[in-house]
């Protein structure tokens, strides 16, 4: 038994709050992936192992299981730090910004790149606490600069906003091409 504990000590590492949640989560994900491997990757008859379509996914999954297992043991064996729930809540807070990003992605083809970018910069800026006139101006200038560099200058491939089709004839195609 002493040998087992000594072996576990080999894998002890400094832990951070939330480490265990991630280590267990990653290992469970690896197990799940390993369970669906036979359905999600083919092993064809009369083919050498190294040329099988399922060979490299299996290598990846095996590494995830092996190293993920060791990582989980190491985490379990490390001294516990308080603050796990608080850390997980911080991870959850990032979902709010995923929401902002998704709304932005969906709004670009509808209202156009320039209006969507200015709106995101100003609204997200306000949400993050930048409410002074100077901060709002900085947000607008930043958004306009990004559009001018990437869309107007570099002509990066982005869709023209559907809203632009309601613009007067004289500026419609100009807006669609540049903003």
């Amino acid at each position: 038994m002493k040998q087992v504990f000594n072996f576990l000590a080999l894998f002890r590492r400094e832990r951070r709050p939330g480490d265990l949640v991630f280590a267990v989560g990653f290992f469970l994900f690896a197990v799940l992936v390993a369970l669906v491997l036979p359905q999600q990757a083919k092993f064809l008859p009369d083919k050498a192992l190294i040329t099988q379509p399922g060979f490299w996914p299996a290598v990846g999954v095996a590494m995830m299981l092996l190293f993920g297992g060791v990582h989980m043991i190491a985490t379990l064996n490390a001294p516990r730090l308080p603050g796990r729930l608080r850390e997980v809540l911080v991870w959850g807070r990032s979902l709010e910004f995923v929401g902002w990003f998704v709304v932005y992605v969906l709004s670009v083809p509808r209202i156009g790149y320039l209006p969507a970018t200015v709106a995101l910069a100003v609204l997200l800026g306000v949400r993050l606490g930048y409410r002074t006139r100077r901060a709002l101006l900085a947000a607008v200038l930043f958004a306009v600069a990004v559009v001018l560099i990437f869309r107007t200058g570099l002509h990066v491939r982005l869709p023209a906003g559907a809203l632009y089709s309601y613009l007067p004839d004289a500026i419609r195609s100009f807006a669609m091409t540049n903003f």
Partner: protein, 499 residues
């Protein structure tokens, strides 16, 4: 050789390349000077924009950012004890104590001088090495490239001392991610779960942007606001830069380690800095001053990290094997333009390779001149509030992802990887092995399949001299890593050791 060098210089004398050099080098300094951005984020965002450029233009832009960000990164490291890029962390050990002693200008000058010295040294070494590489590279067939990629994976794991298990599981995750989609030989589906959008696989750029850029935006936005303050410096920067010549031996040793470590896939700046710093300390007349504001320590650290970018291009150009995340991203620029890095590139397009090296020299000259006059200007950038910066990165990330193929699904996937990257970064776990797992996993799969027809038994892997050497290197590294881990534990079983 001289003729090829002139031909290479001719490639550089195009206005697009010159503009790319200026934007890349000055942009890289600015990006490096802002703590929380870093070259990986910038390169990930700019990558899709470079696809429409000529290969040399796109690559010099990205190389400019890669090669110059460390100059900028030393500024906040020295002035406010916060490294601008991860590889400037060691610079804080001696740079910040010098600032506290009222020697900020001297510290900045030494850092810039050491960076410039090592960058030029590394490029000159590589230009001299190129003819040798042109002879050696063709000796790498499919099985040798497979083994070199495998060596890269092993080194990436082993180099994460203290986090080997985490690095291993992340590399495995990367290998799994690269296999998703339709497999190109037998046309079978792998891990698509019947979803049509997964048939073409996960785009490397989407994953990179999620893991590096979007995750960094989330990290900055969920954390409390900070707007670091830094005081201006005054005096002659030129004189301070020249002082590095008083530490030639330290700078030369650091540059040597930088070149050597940069050439080995998966090792990179941190190991080079560690070796350079410990060697400088060992041979110093005043080893006790290291970590307390030693000019030698500062030169050792900065010379080692800035020699790496040029050297890191060696495995990428000669074998098509990237050694770290930034060169992995650059690999996609090659592929987009149908320029296949590998043995043939050194044989058939040596002028292209030299052009990249000359570009590195020019960009370092631009950067050092810019740094002489711009340090006080750059101090304003350090003061940009972090959450505002996060918002900016989120907006810029969109351009990179959406412009790839105008796909909202790509944006969702990147956002998913952004959340995953946020968790990994907050837990201080390594992200880079995921990217290298994806890139090297793909190389290993393609090359092993190509070599399979000539491999009947495992012994065939050691039937050729280079493949035999690579197998021996892999075995020795694995055995040594296991031995070191076990020895550390035997010496102090109560100490916190490696996962």
């Amino acid at each position: 050789m001289l003729e090829t060098l002139f031909l290479a210089a001719d490639h550089l004398l195009h206005w697009q390349v010159i503009v790319a050099l200026f934007i890349g080098s000055i942009g890289g300094v600015i990006i490096g000077a802002i703590p929380g951005v870093g070259p990986a984020v910038a390169i990930a965002i700019l990558l899709p924009a470079t696809f429409s450029m000529e290969p040399l233009v796109g690559l010099t832009l990205l190389l400019g950012i890669y090669g110059s960000s460390m100059y900028g990164g030393s500024l906040p490291a020295i002035l406010i004890n916060t490294p601008g890029t991860a590889v400037n962390a060691l610079t804080t050990y001696d740079g910040y104590p010098m600032t506290k002693r009222g020697e900020a200008l001297r510290a900045l000058g030494l850092a810039y001088g050491a960076s410039f010295f090592s960058a030029i040294f590394s490029v000159v070494v590589l230009i001299l090495l190129a003819p040798v590489l042109a002879k050696v590279a063709p000796m790498f067939g499919s099985r040798e490239i497979f083994l070199a990629a495998l060596l890269g994976v092993v080194l990436v794991i082993v180099a994460h001392k203290g986090q080997m298990a985490a690095a291993g599981m992340m590399a495995g995750f990367g290998i799994l991610l690269q296999s998703v989609g339709m497999e190109p030989v037998n046309y079978t589906m792998r891990f698509t779960f019947g979803l049509a959008w997964l048939t073409s696989g996960l785009d490397l750029i989407v994953v990179v942007l999620g893991l590096f850029a979007i995750s960094q935006a989330f990290v900055l936005m969920v954390e409390p606001e900070s707007a670091p303050d830094a005081k201006s410096v005054s005096g002659s920067m030129g004189g301070a830069v020249r002082e590095v010549l008083g530490y030639k031996r330290v700078a030369l040793t650091g540059s040597g380690f930088g070149v050597l470590m940069g050439m080995i896939p998966g090792v990179g700046e941190f190991t080079a800095q560690f070796l350079s710093y410990t060697t400088a300390r060992r041979f110093s007349k005043d080893p006790d001053s290291f970590g307390k504001g030693s000019p030698e320590g500062l030169v050792a650290s900065e010379s080692a990290n800035n020699a790496v970018p040029a050297a890191a291009m060696i495995p990428l150009l000669a074998l098509g094997i990237p050694g770290e995340a930034l060169t992995a991203m650059m690999l996609s620029v090659f592929y987009v333009h149908n320029v296949v890095p590998g043995p043939n590139l050194f044989q058939n397009q040596l002028d292209f390779v030299y052009a990249l090296y000359l570009a590195l020299i020019v960009l370092n000259i631009i950067v050092i001149l810019w740094m002489l006059v711009s340090s006080n200007l750059l101090i304003h950038l350090i003061r940009v509030p972090t959450r505002f910066l996060g918002m900016g990165i989120l907006i810029l990330s969109f351009v990179g992802i959406y412009s790839l193929r105008n796909s909202a699904v790509d944006c969702l996937v990147a956002a998913g990887f952004g959340v995953f990257g946020l968790i990994v970064k907050r837990l201080n776990l390594p992200v880079v092995p995921i990217i290298l797992g994806m890139v090297l996993g793909n190389i290993m799969e393609v090359k092993l399949r190509a070599a399979a027809a000539r491999i009947e038994s495992p012994l065939d892997f050691v039937s050729r001299p280079i493949s035999a050497l690579l197998v021996i290197a892999i075995v020795l590294i694995v055995v040594q890593a296991l031995r070191t881990t076990l020895r550390d534990w035997a010496e102090d079983p109560s100490a916190e050791t490696h996962s």
